[in-house]
C-alpha cells in the first residue's frame, strides 16, 4: 500500500514557514479550513448490499400483492355500446340517418340485464372512443375568460387588439360573438340517456337520474361563471349567438333547473374538461341510493336504456357507450392497477429469491476478494 505524502502537510505551516522571512504576517492566502471547502462534509454513503436490497424486494412483494387484490375485488362496472354499428343493433337506424341539422331527434332503446345488483350510489357515464378531445387544435379552442364570465368577450365580437378570442378559432363568427365559443363547446355531447327498470311483470319504471354534482366544485364555482349583472340569463346572453352545432342557446341547456344554465351547466362543464386520451368517459349522472331502503339502487333484472341519438360518431369510427359503475373507497374499479400490482409484487418477490440464491452462490467469493492492483 502506498503511503500518501500528505500526512506531514496536513495542517499548514508549523515547521517550515516560521523560519522563512515574515511568514507569520502574510500567510493569508491559505484556504479556509471548512468542511465544505475541504470537501469533508459529513455524509451517508449507502451502497447496495445484500442486506438492504434483498429485504427491500421481499417487502415490496409482500405489500404489493395484497394491494393488488383489493384493487381488483371492489367495484362493479357495466358497459353498453350503443353506437349502432351492426345491423342488429337497435341504434343502427339512428346512426345511419344522422346529420347535425336534423330537427327531428331519433331515439332508440337498448335492452340489457344486470346479473348483480348495484349497491349504493351508481354512476352513469357516457363514453366515447376514437374521439380526439386531446388534439392540440381542439384543446386550444376555448376561451377561459369568456367561460369565467368576462363580459367583454361577449360584447365585442370583432377581434380587437388586446381582446381577441384567438383561442376560439375557428368558431368565431363575424357578426355576433358565439357564447360559448370554440371547438370544444361546439361539439358538446348531446345524446340524452334515460334508464328504465323492467319489472318482472313487464312494466317500465323510470330510474331517477340526478344531473347535479357531476362537475368539480372548483370548476363549477371558480372556473366557470355566468356573466354577472343580471339574473336573467336571456338578457345577459343577448347579442350572442349559439354555437353552430347547438340546438339550443347556452341559457336553455337545462330546461328543468334554471340554476343549471349558462356556463355553469354541469354537463357543459364536464364536457369542457377535456379528456387526456382518445378513449374516455364522462360522468352523465348519478343514480342515488334510495334513502332508508334496503333494496339495492339497481336491483338485478332487465333494464332499458333509452337513447335520444343526436351525436354523430360513425364518420370517424367512434364508439359511444353507456357505463354504469359503483365506487369503492379508492375510486372506481381499476382492474389494470390491481393486476399490475399483483404482477409487480410477484416479480419482485421472485427476483428477490433469484438474487438471494445468486448472492449465496457468488457473494462470498467477491466480498472476500482482495483488491488486485
Amino acid at each position: 500500500m502506498a503511503p500518501s505524502y500528505n500526512a506531514k502537510e496536513e495542517d499548514g505551516h508549523q515547521p517550515g514557514a516560521t523560519g522563512h522571512g515574515g511568514a507569520g504576517t502574510m500567510t493569508n492566502k491559505k484556504p479556509d479550513n471548512t468542511a465544505f471547502k475541504q470537501q469533508r462534509l459529513p455524509a451517508w454513503q449507502p451502497i447496495l448490499t445484500a442486506g438492504t436490497v434483498l429485504p427491500a424486494f421481499f417487502v415490496i412483494g409482500l405489500i404489493f400483492i395484497p394491494i393488488g387484490f383489493i384493487l381488483i375485488v371492489y367495484g362493479l362496472t357495466l358497459l353498453i355500446d350503443y353506437t349502432g354499428v351492426d345491423m342488429s343493433s337497435p341504434c343502427y337506424n339512428c346512426s345511419q340517418s344522422y346529420s347535425w341539422n336534423n330537427t327531428q331527434s331519433c331515439t332508440c332503446s337498448v335492452h340489457f340485464s344486470l346479473d348483480q345488483p348495484f349497491e349504493s350510489n351508481v354512476f352513469m357515464y357516457y363514453g366515447l372512443s376514437n374521439f380526439y378531445q386531446n388534439h392540440r387544435r381542439y384543446v386550444k379552442s376555448r376561451d377561459d375568460s369568456q367561460l369565467n364570465g368576462d363580459k367583454t368577450s361577449l360584447q365585442y365580437h370583432i377581434c380587437t387588439l388586446n381582446r381577441c378570442s384567438k383561442e376560439c378559432e375557428p368558431y368565431r363568427s363575424s357578426d355576433k360573438p358565439i357564447a360559448p365559443c370554440g371547438a370544444i363547446a361546439n361539439s358538446l355531447f348531446n345524446d340524452t340517456l334515460e334508464l328504465y327498470y323492467i319489472d318482472p311483470n313487464g312494466s317500465r319504471t323510470a330510474i331517477p337520474l340526478v344531473k347535479k354534482g357531476i362537475a368539480w366544485w372548483t370548476d363549477k364555482h371558480v372556473k366557470f361563471r355566468n356573466p354577472s349583472g343580471n339574473n336573467n340569463l336571456t338578457v345577459v346572453f343577448q347579442g350572442t349567438s349559439k354555437p353552430v352545432n347547438w340546438r339550443k342557446p347556452v341559457f336553455e341547456l337545462d330546461p328543468l333547473d334554471s340554476d343549471n344554465n349558462g356556463f355553469i351547466n354541469e354537463d357543459f362543464i364536464v364536457w369542457m374538461r377535456t379528456a387526456a386520451l382518445p378513449t374516455f368517459r364522462k360522468l352523465y349522472c348519478i343514480i342515488q341510493k334510495k334513502p332508508n331502503n334496503m333494496t339495492p339502487t339497481l336491483p338485478r333484472g332487465e333494464y332499458i336504456l333509452e337513447v335520444t341519438y343526436n351525436y354523430p360518431v360513425r364518420s370517424f369510427d367512434g364508439r359511444k357507450r353507456m357505463i354504469l359503475s359503483t365506487i369503492s373507497w379508492m375510486g372506481g374499479k381499476n382492474p389494470f392497477l390491481g393486476i399490475a400490482y399483483i404482477t409487480v409484487g410477484s416479480v419482485c418477490f421472485c427476483l428477490g429469491l433469484v438474487l438471494l440464491s445468486i448472492h449465496y452462490r457468488y457473494g462470498k467469493r467477491n466480498n472476500s476478494a482482495e483488491i488486485s492492483s
Partner: protein
C-alpha cells in the same frame, strides 16, 4: 464561456494594410505622424458601453446552443406551429444570456481597468527640448523617452544612451520569456555619446528604417542613418516593451514600435482554446441527439400526416379542418421540434459550466495543495478542463524546478582520503539524517550563511584545527569559480552563481571559514578563517562541455602561484600526478558511494606553478587570445598543457534536492497507470541521475536503453533494437486503428495500440537523437518504443522538441496528456498538452501564466489528479448521464403521447412544468450531486490509485454509456407514460367523477416523472450530505408548493389564460388511485436498475465497488504505513555537477560587469526579492512558440 482569452488577440495587431518597412525620424513628430503608425495606447478590452449589448449578444448567438434557442423562439412566434407558450423558451434563454453577459462584462471591466492602468503609467518624454512627464498612451513613434531604474520599458525602443559604461543597460525579461536572469543590451557608440545631455538629444535627428512590426522576440533588423552615415541595428540595440530596466540609473531610447505594434502585443492572443475530451464527445453527442430529434419529429410528423388524412378529415365535424394533410405534417414537424427540444436543454451547458467552476474552486480551496513556505495556494487558472484531470494517461514533466527544487546543497565531501558528511552514532552505525538531526554550529564564523546546514562536526573541527589539506580544499572552493558576490550590507553576502552547484560549493567554503568576499577582474578577496587575504587572479580556464573542468590560476599574497582545478572525476583523474594514485583509489571509492546516493560529484585538484613557466604561458595565452583564427583550439591546447600533473585534494558531493515527495508521487501516479516522461534541457547524466533518485529508473529494471546516436539511421537502429528486445515476438508494423471522430466525422484519427511488454524497461534519449526520431518517417518508431517503456527520459531537448513529443503522443495515442513545468522553456509543452500545469517556482511566472493549473510543489500533482481530477471526472460523468436520462425520459413521454393525441403536438405536461422542470425542479439536486459526490474520500483515493484507471479508459461516460442511458430513459418513459395511461383510462375518481381529463393526467404524468427522476438521482448519489438531502427534498416540496399555488383560484383569477389548471392539484392529489399509480411507476422505474446494479456488484464488481465495500468494512482508517525509502546501493557513477552552459569566465575577466567601487555596487543579478513583487507587472499572456531554445545562450 472560455473563449474570451482566445478573443483577446483579435484586438491586437489587426491592420488592414501591412506596412513593408518602418521609417521614422527622431524628434520629428510631424513626419512620423504622417505614417499613421499606432501610438502607444493599448486596448485589450472588447467592448465599450455602447457596443457591449449588441456585440455581446452577437457573440453569444454565435454559439450553437443559443442560436438554436433563438430559432426555437422564432418558431414559437408562429401561431400555427407554436405548441408551447413563449415563456418556456424565453425564461431559460434570458437567464443563460444574462449570466454569460454578467460574466463577460465583469471580465471586460477588468481588462478596461488593466488597460487604463497601463495606459496611464507615466514616462518622461523629450518634447520641445525638455523632458515632460506624460502618460504611456501619449507616447508616439519617434519620441525619445527617458527610462529610470526598475521602470517598465514603455514601448519597443532603440537604445540611445545609458548611464552605464560602454552604453550598457541591464534588463529583466521575465514578462516576456520568463527568464529572471538579466540580459545586457548595448547602445551604438555613436548614440551613446549623446549621454544624458538634453540638448544633444533634442537635436538628435537620426532616421530609422526597420522591419515592420512582427512577433519575433529575438530578431530585429534595421538601420540608423545619422549625419549621412548608416549604422546597422540588431536585436542588441532594442529594448522590448514588457521588460524591466535593472541596475541602470537611466537610459534614453527612441520609440520604434508603440502599443499594438510592440513585440509583446504582437505575441499575445495566440492562446489556443482548450477543450476537454468530454466536451468533444458532448459535441458529437449533441449533434447525434439533434439527428435523433429530427428523426423523432419526422416520425411524428408523418404520423400526423397519416392521421390527418385518415382520421382528421372525418373528424371535421368536431375539429374543424385546418389545412391539408401534408402541410399539417410540415407544421407539426416544427411543433414537435419545439416540444422535444428538451433533449438538448440549454441548461445543460450552463450546468456544465457551473460544475466545472465549482470543481475549480475546490482546487483553489484545497489546503492540502497550499504551500505555506511561499504562501501559494493551488490555482485553477482555466475552469473548463477539470474532468480531463481524471483521464490523464501521459504526464510530461520538466526536471529542473519541477522534480527538483533547483537547490543544490553541499552534502558530503572526501578530503585527502577521508569522507565527511556522514553521521555516525557511538557504535559506528550510520544515522539517518532528518530535519531533527542536530546541525553543525557555525556561529564562530560571523560571515556564515545561516541557511546552510551540515551535520558532521568532524569537518569543522578539522578546519579549525588547521588541517592543511582541508584548508586547501575549501580555499579551492572559495577561489575556483565564476560566482559574483554581492554585499548589500556589511557581512550580508549574496552569491550570484551561474549554476546552483557552484553557489552551493562557494557557500560551503564560506561556512567553513573560507569566505569569498569580492572580486575584481584581477583580484579575489577571501576571508580565510577571519583573515582578509587577496589573491591575484591570473587566468580563468573556463568550463565548457568538452573540457568538463574549470581552473583558475592565482597568486597568493606570498607570491605563490597555484592552479586550482575542479571538474568531472574521470577528467581530473587523467590529469593527476602519478604520486596520488593511492589517494585516487580511496577517493574513487568515496565517489562511488556518493554517486550511489544520487549526489552530484566533482573532483578537486591543485598544482603549484613555476613563476617563470607562468610568465611564458601567459605570453602564449595572450597570443592565443588575440589570434584571429583557430583561437579556440589554441586556447584549448594551452589549457591542456597547464592542467597536468595535478595533486588531488578530494571530491565534493552536492545534492540536487528533489522536491518533497517526488518519488512517492511518481510511484503513486505510476500505480494509477499514468506514464511519466521526463523532458529536460539538462544533460543526460543529470537527467539519468534524477531518474534514479526519484525512482523512475530502478536497478531492478530489465534494461535501460540509451539512445544517443548521431545519424538518423543509427537512431532508427537503436530504437528498433530496443523494441525488439522488449517484444521479441512483436509485429514489425504497428497496429494502427484508423477512425473518424469529431463533428460530422471530419476528424481522422489514428490510434496506435498499446503493445504488451514483459518486464520493465526504460529509455533515455538525448536531444540530438530526438531530433532525428521526431522526423516524419521515424516518429512512429519512437512512439512505439517509448510507449513500451515504463519510463522515458528525454534530455537536452529544446522547448520546441518538448512540444513535438507531446504532440506526437497526442496524435497517435488519443490519450489525455498533461505537461508540468516551471520555466519559460516549458511553455510550449504546457500549451501543447491537453492540460498544462505550472509549478509556481523560481524560474519566473511564464509557465504559470500559460498553464491551466498551477501550484507550488510537484507532489500536489497526485492530489490534483487522483483526488480532484478523479472526482471531477466522476461528477461530470454522473451529471451527464443523469442529465441526459432525466431529459430524455421527460421528452420521450411526449413522443409516446403523440400516438394518443393524433400527433397534434399536444404536450403531456403543464406548460409551466415544462418551463420549470430543468430550471427549478431538478436543477439544484443534480447540481448538488455533481458538486458534492465522491465515491470514496481522498484518503482512500490515495490508498488505491487504481481507482484512477476507469477515467483513462473513458469508462464512466462514453458513447456506449450514452446509449445505455438512452435505453434506460426509453424504458423509464414507457413506464411513465403507459402505466398512468393504463391505470387511468378505465377508471374514475372516488366521487364518481372522471379522472382522466387532460389536466389531471398531465399532473399525474409530471408528478410521476419528477418522483421517478428524483429516486434515480438518489440511486446515483454515493455521497449523501445534508445539502443533497436538502436540495432533493426541497425541490420536491417546491414542486408541490408551486403546483398548489399555480393551480389555485387566485392565480387563475389574476391571469386566466396562463393558469387554466385551476383546482387540478386539489382534486387530483386526494385520490388513492393517483398515489398508487405514482408508487407503481416509481417502483417499476427503479426496480430493474437496483436489480441490475446489485447483480453487477455481486458478479462483476469494479474496482470502485470493491473499494467502497472495503471502506464500509474498515470504518476506522488504519494508520498509513510510512515506508522508508531504501538506500540505493548502486555503483553507478553520477553526473558531473556543472551546468552545461559555458561559464561566465569571459565576463569575469573582461571587467564589463565590474564597473564601480565595491561599496555602491548594485546587485548584478538581483534575485533576492522577486522583482514582480515590487511593481505590478503587465499581465499579458505572451509568446506561444519558441524558435530557439533559451537554454543555451
Amino acid at each position: 464561456m472560455g473563449s474570451l482569452l482566445s478573443q483577446l488577440g483579435l484586438e491586437c495587431g489587426g491592420k488592414d494594410v501591412r506596412e513593408k518597412e518602418r521609417h521614422l525620424r527622431a524628434n520629428d513628430r510631424e513626419l512620423n505622424l504622417s505614417y499613421k503608425y499606432a501610438d502607444n495606447a493599448i486596448k485589450t478590452s472588447k467592448y465599450n458601453i455602447f457596443t457591449f449589448l449588441p456585440l455581446n449578444l452577437f457573440e453569444q448567438f454565435q454559439r450553437l446552443a443559443n442560436a438554436y434557442f433563438l430559432f426555437l423562439l422564432c418558431l414559437q412566434s408562429i401561431p400555427e406551429v407554436s405548441s408551447l407558450p413563449w415563456y418556456t423558451t424565453v425564461v431559460p434563454l434570458v437567464l443563460v444570456l444574462s449570466m454569460t453577459m454578467a460574466k463577460d462584462s465583469s471580465d471586460d471591466m477588468n481588462r478596461h481597468r488593466c488597460d487604463k492602468q497601463v495606459n496611464n503609467r507615466k514616462v518622461e518624454i523629450l518634447i520641445g527640448g525638455e523632458l515632460q512627464s506624460e502618460k504611456w498612451m501619449d507616447v508616439q513613434v519617434g519620441d525619445i523617452i527617458k527610462l529610470e531604474n526598475n521602470q517598465f520599458v514603455t514601448a519597443d525602443l532603440l537604445l540611445l544612451s545609458s548611464s552605464e559604461p560602454l552604453n550598457l543597460v541591464y534588463i529583466e525579461t521575465a514578462e516576456l520569456d520568463g527568464e529572471t536572469n538579466l540580459k545586457v543590451k548595448q547602445a551604438l557608440t555613436v548614440t551613446g555619446k549623446l549621454e544624458d545631455s538634453i540638448e544633444k538629444l533634442a537635436n538628435f535627428n537620426g532616421e530609422v528604417r526597420c522591419e515592420p512590426p512582427n512577433n519575433r522576440l529575438d530578431k530585429f533588423t534595421g538601420t540608423l542613418t545619422l549625419n549621412g552615415e548608416t549604422y546597422s541595428l540588431d536585436n542588441e540595440r532594442i529594448l522590448l516593451r514588457g521588460c524591466t530596466l535593472r541596475n541602470t540609473q537611466w537610459c534614453f531610447g527612441l520609440v520604434v514600435f508603440g502599443g499594438p505594434d510592440t513585440k509583446l502585443m504582437q505575441n499575445c492572443g495566440r492562446t489556443t482554446f482548450k477543450r476537454t475530451s468530454i466536451d468533444r464527445l458532448m459535441n458529437v453527442l449533441v449533434l447525434n441527439i439533434f439527428g435523433f430529434l429530427m428523426i423523432m419529429c419526422l416520425i411524428l410528423a408523418i404520423g400526423n400526416g397519416i392521421w390527418e388524412y385518415q382520421e382528421g378529415s372525418k373528424f371535421a365535424a368536431f375539429l374543424p379542418k385546418g389545412v391539408n394533410a401534408p402541410f399539417s405534417a410540415f407544421l407539426t414537424f416544427w411543433s414537435y421540434v419545439i416540444i422535444l427540444n428538451t433533449v438538448v436543454p440549454i441548461s445543460l451547458y450552463i450546468s456544465v459550466e457551473i460544475i466545472r467552476l465549482g470543481n475549480s474552486f475546490y482546487i483553489n480551496w484545497d489546503r492540502k495543495m497550499y504551500y505555506p513556505k511561499s504562501d501559494t495556494p493551488a490555482e485553477a487558472r482555466t475552469t473548463t478542463l477539470n474532468e480531463e484531470l481524471g483521464q490523464i494517461k501521459y504526464i510530461f514533466s520538466d526536471k529542473t524546478g519541477t522534480l527538483t527544487q533547483n537547490i543544490m546543497t553541499f552534502n558530503k565531501c572526501s578530503i585527502n582520503g577521508k569522507s565527511y558528511g556522514e553521521l555516525l552514532d557511538f557504535s559506528g552505525q550510520r544515522v539517518e539524517i532528518n530535519e531533527k538531526t542536530e546541525k553543525v554550529d557555525f556561529s564562530w564564523n560571523n560571515l556564515a550563511d545561516p541557511k546552510f546546514c551540515f551535520h558532521d562536526n568532524s569537518l569543522v573541527e578539522e578546519v579549525r584545527e588547521g588541517n592543511p589539506e582541508v584548508q586547501a580544499f575549501f580555499r579551492l572552493l572559495a577561489l575556483c569559480h565564476t560566482v559574483m558576490p554581492e554585499e548589500k550590507k556589511e557581512g550580508e553576502l549574496y552569491y550570484q552563481a551561474q549554476s546552483p552547484d557552484e553557489g552551493a560549493l562557494v557557500t560551503a567554503a564560506r561556512n567553513f571559514g573560507f569566505v569569498f568576499r569580492s572580486r575584481t577582474p584581477e583580484r579575489i578577496t577571501v576571508v580565510e578563517m577571519g583573515e582578509l587575504v587577496t589573491y591575484e587572479l591570473l587566468a580563468v580556464l573556463d568550463f565548457n562541455n568538452v573540457r568538463k573542468r574549470m581552473s583558475v590560476i592565482v597568486r597568493s599574497p606570498e607570491g605563490k602561484l597555484t592552479l586550482y582545478c575542479k571538474g568531472a572525476d574521470t577528467i581530473i583523474f587523467e590529469r593527476l600526478n602519478p604520486s596520488c594514485s593511492n589517494l585516487t583509489e580511496v577517493t574513487t571509492e568515496h565517489l562511488n558511494e556518493f554517486a550511489g546516493e544520487g549526489l552530484r560529484t566533482l573532483a578537486l585538484a591543485y598544482k603549484d606553478i613555476d613563476p617563470e613557466y607562468m610568465e611564458d604561458w601567459k605570453l602564449r595565452h595572450h597570443e592565443a587570445n588575440t589570434a584571429m583564427d583557430e583561437r579556440e583550439e589554441k586556447l584549448d591546447a594551452l589549457y591542456e598543457e597547464i592542467e597536468k600533473g595535478l595533486q588531488l585534494l578530494g571530491s565534493t558531493a552536492v545534492e540536487d534536492k528533489l522536491q518533497d515527495g517526488v518519488p512517492q508521487t511518481i510511484e503513486q501516479l505510476s500505480k494509477a497507470d499514468i506514464k511519466i516522461w521526463v523532458l529536460t534541457g539538462d544533460k543526460q547524466e543529470t537527467a539519468e541521475n534524477i531518474g534514479y533518485s526519484c525512482n523512475m529508473l530502478r536497478d531492478e529494471m530489465n534494461e535501460v536503453f540509451i539512445v544517443s546516436a548521431n545519424t538518423a539511421e543509427e537512431v532508427r537502429k537503436e530504437l528498433q533494437t530496443a523494441r525488439r528486445k522488449m517484444t521479441p515476438d512483436g509485429t514489425e508494423e504497428p497496429t494502427v486503428k484508423k477512425s473518424r471522430s469529431g463533428l460530422f466525422c471530419l476528424l481522422k484519427t489514428e490510434t496506435v495500440a498499446d503493445e504488451p511488454v514483459n518486464g520493465e524497461y526504460a529509455m533515455v534519449i538525448n536531444g540530438h537523437s530526438l531530433a532525428f526520431a521526431l522526423e516524419k518517417d521515424m516518429e512512429m518508431e519512437l512512439l512505439r518504443t517509448a510507449c513500451m517503456c515504463q519510463t522515458v527520459i528525454c534530455c537536452r531537448v529544446t522547448p520546441l522538441q518538448k512540444a513535438q513529443v507531446v504532440e506526437l503522443v497526442k496524435k497517435y495515442k488519443q490519450a489525455v496528456t498533461l505537461a508540468v513545468g516551471d520555466g519559460a522553456n516549458d511553455v510550449s509543452m504546457i500549451k501543447a498538452a491537453h492540460i498544462g500545469v505550472g509549478i509556481s517556482g523560481q524560474e519566473g511566472m511564464q509557465a504559470v501564466l500559460s498553464s491551466d493549473y498551477s501550484f507550488a510543489q510537484f507532489r500536489y500533482l497526485q492530489r490534483l489528479l487522483l483526488v480532484h481530477g478523479r472526482w471531477s471526472y466522476l461528477r461530470m460523468c454522473k451529471f451527464l448521464r443523469y442529465f441526459f436520462y432525466k431529459n430524455f425520459t421527460f421528452t420521450f413521454v411526449h413522443f409516446w403521447y403523440g400516438f394518443f393525441c393524433g400527433f397534434s403536438a399536444q404536450t403531456v405536461y403543464d406548460e409551466w412544468f415544462i418551463t420549470l422542470y430543468n430550471l427549478v425542479y431538478t436543477a439544484l439536486p443534480v447540481l448538488s450531486l455533481s458538486l458534492l459526490d465522491q465515491d470514496v474520500n481522498d484518503w482512500w483515493s490515495f490508498q488505491y490509485p487504481q481507482l484512477y484507471t476507469p477515467g483513462q479508459l473513458n469508462q464512466y461516460f462514453s458513447k456506449r454509456a450514452f446509449v445505455y442511458t438512452v435505453l434506460h430513459s426509453g424504458y423509464s418513459s414507457l413506464v411513465l407514460f403507459f402505466i398512468p395511461w393504463a391505470a387511468m383510462y378505465d377508471t374514475v375518481r372516488d366521487d364518481g367523477k372522471e379522472i382522466v381529463d387532460y389536466q389531471s393526467f398531465a399532473l399525474l404524468a409530471q408528478t410521476c416523472l419528477l418522483i421517478a427522476v428524483s429516486i434515480q438521482l438518489g440511486l446515483d448519489t454515493h455521497y449523501w450530505t445534508a445539502v443533497n438531502q436538502f436540495f432533493l427534498w426541497g425541490s420536491l416540496s417546491v414542486y408541490f408548493a408551486v403546483i398548489f399555488t399555480m393551480y389555485s383560484n387566485g392565480m387563475f383569477l389574476t391571469l386566466i389564460s396562463s393558469f387554466p389548471f385551476i383546482g387540478t392539484a386539489r382534486n387530483s392529489l386526494n385520490q388513492p388511485n393517483v398515489w398508487l399509480t405514482m408508487l407503481l411507476t416509481s417502483i417499476l422505474c427503479v426496480l430493474p436498475v437496483v436489480a441490475y446494479r446489485f447483480l453487477r456488484i455481486l458478479l462483476w464488481p469494479t474496482i470502485n465497488d470493491k473499494v467502497r465495500y472495503k471502506v464500509r468494512q474498515d470504518k476506522v482508517l488504519p494508520p498509513a504505513p510510512r515506508r522508508v525509502q531504501a538506500r540505493r546501493t548502486s555503483t553507478r557513477r553520477s553526473g558531473y555537477a556543472f551546468s552545461h552552459a559555458q561559464g561566465y569566465g569571459d565576463l569575469v575577466t573582461s571587467g564589463k560587469f565590474l564597473r564601480r567601487t565595491p561599496k555602491s555596487r548594485p546587485a548584478l543579478f538581483s534575485q533576492t526579492d522577486s522583482p514582480l513583487a515590487q511593481t505590478q507587472p503587465q499581465s499579458y499572456r505572451t509568446i506561444s512558440e519558441w524558435e530557439e531554445p533559451p537554454l543555451s545562450p
